[in-house]
């Protein structure tokens, strides 16, 4: 499956939706910093991987997909839920990358903090893409088998 950019998808968004995500992202960062200053880095660090804006993102994806289907004259509710579920499946793979990010940062920050942020970000991207690619590879034989059973 090819990865591509779809600029038309941006037209589905409303200005206030971007504002909500900005505010939630900012609030999550302030909250994580406050928890660390109040309870220490061992508790605060956990909140660096909090699914703070995931609620908003998944709801927006569901709403956009359902609206798109309704405009095409089809019932959109189930399709919206499926789109949000696919996004969540992707987030699980991105979460694997986030584990790698934290490990790489912890291992390299004491040598150079700026380089550690760069290494950890690159590690997140590579690990996430590798996990996604592996899942696609593992799913393909199962899908082919299911299709051949249906055809047979």
């Amino acid at each position: 499956m090819l990865v591509r950019a779809s600029p038309s998808a941006l037209k589905q968004g409303r200005w206030y939706e971007y504002l909500i995500r900005f505010a939630l992202g900012g609030a999550a960062t302030v909250f994580a910093g406050w928890v660390a200053s109040r309870f220490g880095p061992w508790v605060g660090g956990v909140f660096l991987a909090m699914p703070a804006i995931f609620c908003a993102s998944a709801t927006l994806i569901e709403t956009h997909e359902a609206r798109r289907k309704r405009e095409a004259g089809k019932p959109g509710e189930r399709r919206g839920q499926q789109a949000a579920a696919l996004d969540a499946a992707g987030a699980a793979l991105g979460g694997v990358g986030l584990v790698v990010f934290a490990i790489v940062f912890a291992a390299s920050v004491e040598r150079s903090p700026v380089a550690a942020l760069a290494y950890a970000s690159a590690a997140w991207l590579l690990a996430s893409i590798a996990a996604w690619w592996l899942r696609q590879k593992l799913r393909r034989p199962r899908n082919l088998a299911a299709n051949s059973r249906t055809a047979g």
Partner: protein, 113 residues
């Protein structure tokens, strides 16, 4: 002032990753950006300025546990949406309990070792 900087930097990085997620297809690939290290980049970037490197290292070691909990959380959200028919807002809000339980359960285990 530090909290204003946190809010602006965090909001900007989260929005940038969210925009990338909106732009990319297929949806399962775009979903990767739902678990982007946006809050972590903003917070750890500020932490290395306001504190020292060992403090930031301890924060990121704790983050490993939060990230494992995020993987479980995302799988639970996916299953709730596919199997129960509830909406995204309810599924993501309900699964927050799972994230908290897994994250702090792992932290208790790690603290006990």
């Amino acid at each position: 002032m530090e909290y204003v900087a946190r809010f602006l930097i965090g909001g900007f990085i989260v929005s940038a990753f969210a925009l990338l997620g909106d732009l990319l297809r297929p949806k399962s690939f775009a979903g990767l950006f739902g678990a982007a290290p946006s809050v972590a980049l903003a917070t750890l970037g500020i932490t290395v300025i306001t504190h020292d490197a060992p403090y930031a290292a301890q924060e990121s070691r704790a983050m490993v546990l939060g990230a494992i909990a995020l993987v479980v959380y995302s799988i639970v959200v996916c299953q709730l949406l596919m199997r129960t028919g509830i909406g995204a807002l309810q599924a993501t809000a309900l699964a927050l309990v799972v994230w908290l339980l897994v994250a702090f359960g792992l932290q208790m285990l790690a603290g006990a070792v």
